[in-house]
Subunit: 225 residues, 2 copies
Amino acid sequence: MTTQRHFDEELESLKEKLLLMASLAELMIYQAIKSLIERSQSLIDEVNSQENKVNHLHIEIDEMCLRLLALRQPVAVDLRFITSAMKINSELERIGDQAVNISQCSAFLIKQPQVKPLIDIPRMAEIVQKMVKDSLDSFISRDINLARSVLNRDDEVDGLKDQIFRELLTFMMSDQSTIPRSLELILVSRHLERVADHATNIAEDAIYLVQGKDIRHHIEEERDN
Amino acid sequence: MTTQRHFDEELESLKEKLLLMASLAELMIYQAIKSLIERSQSLIDEVNSQENKVNHLHIEIDEMCLRLLALRQPVAVDLRFITSAMKINSELERIGDQAVNISQCSAFLIKQPQVKPLIDIPRMAEIVQKMVKDSLDSFISRDINLARSVLNRDDEVDGLKDQIFRELLTFMMSDQSTIPRSLELILVSRHLERVADHATNIAEDAIYLVQGKDIRHHIEEERDN
């Protein structure tokens, strides 16, 4: 087998591991929100058991990237792919952390009466899960349009977060016994917002990989001038 | 000049830029909290103008690391140093983001009467700023003890965050007119907590650099040893 072909196979294996990690992170968000909706302790336990898998993958992917950098000494797009993979690996691990944070809010909330039927939070969670999936897919398939669509959805998530905040504020103001539970629901929405931020970071890495220029902080406009 | 000596100089320059970025990020936290204490709009504006500098440094450091990886093809500890520098660069940029988030809370709060004199938040901010400084110093000077001391301070920060939460919950329950302001102060403490998380990540990278093994996800066992 040629060295190049071997290298390509290693890159393929790296991609597969990243996709696996992303699907685990996405599953954890799904389970954490579902545990809240169905008031299920066993789903909370599920989230925690997934976290161990994500943590192991995190270390495995990081070591794989370092090995590829050291042994293959890649340049240009391969170099950017591997260093971006290292960053994305950290983003995915933190998405897992956010799912754990949500499951901790859920553990508190399912022991108390419901403040209100949950509508906006499941909607926000659905958008956010899709952002995680699409951001990783855009990176793997080098699809700039998909990556940009992830960036565009960030505003929608912020809008939902503000809406949830305002609504729960009204609940708290009108019935102070709901304050602790309402606060916890506000925190759930903040954790989801952070997941969206991580997905946005991944999408930016995807665009950077393809364009070879940095769109973070809107530098692209500056460079075009 | 030998290639090795040139490479060493480039590494020195990378370290200086990281230290500059860390001091800017630390300054932003300081200014954001001070804007809250002194109810100063001009300090809020200061935070925003620092953010531009941090964002430019972020891109500059990232490109510097990529160039070093591509041209110098480092191995072993130099390779780990540069890939860690890339990750730390992202952590520092996000610390700057948190300072901006705090300054936004401040912009809301300084237009309203104070809920209570601020005691725990400035204390929490002081610890967190020191964590940022020490985490970066531990990385640059490869000081494992300093890095471990950063990890240990994370519990203190969590304790303060919980204390702030409980106290403001009491305010909200006894006087519902304080709810919006109290919520905003709770958010300030959450932003500070995230800064502490970023400093912890940097300290973990420092330990990894020196020990050449990954302590992430094994922190508890490591600390007991």
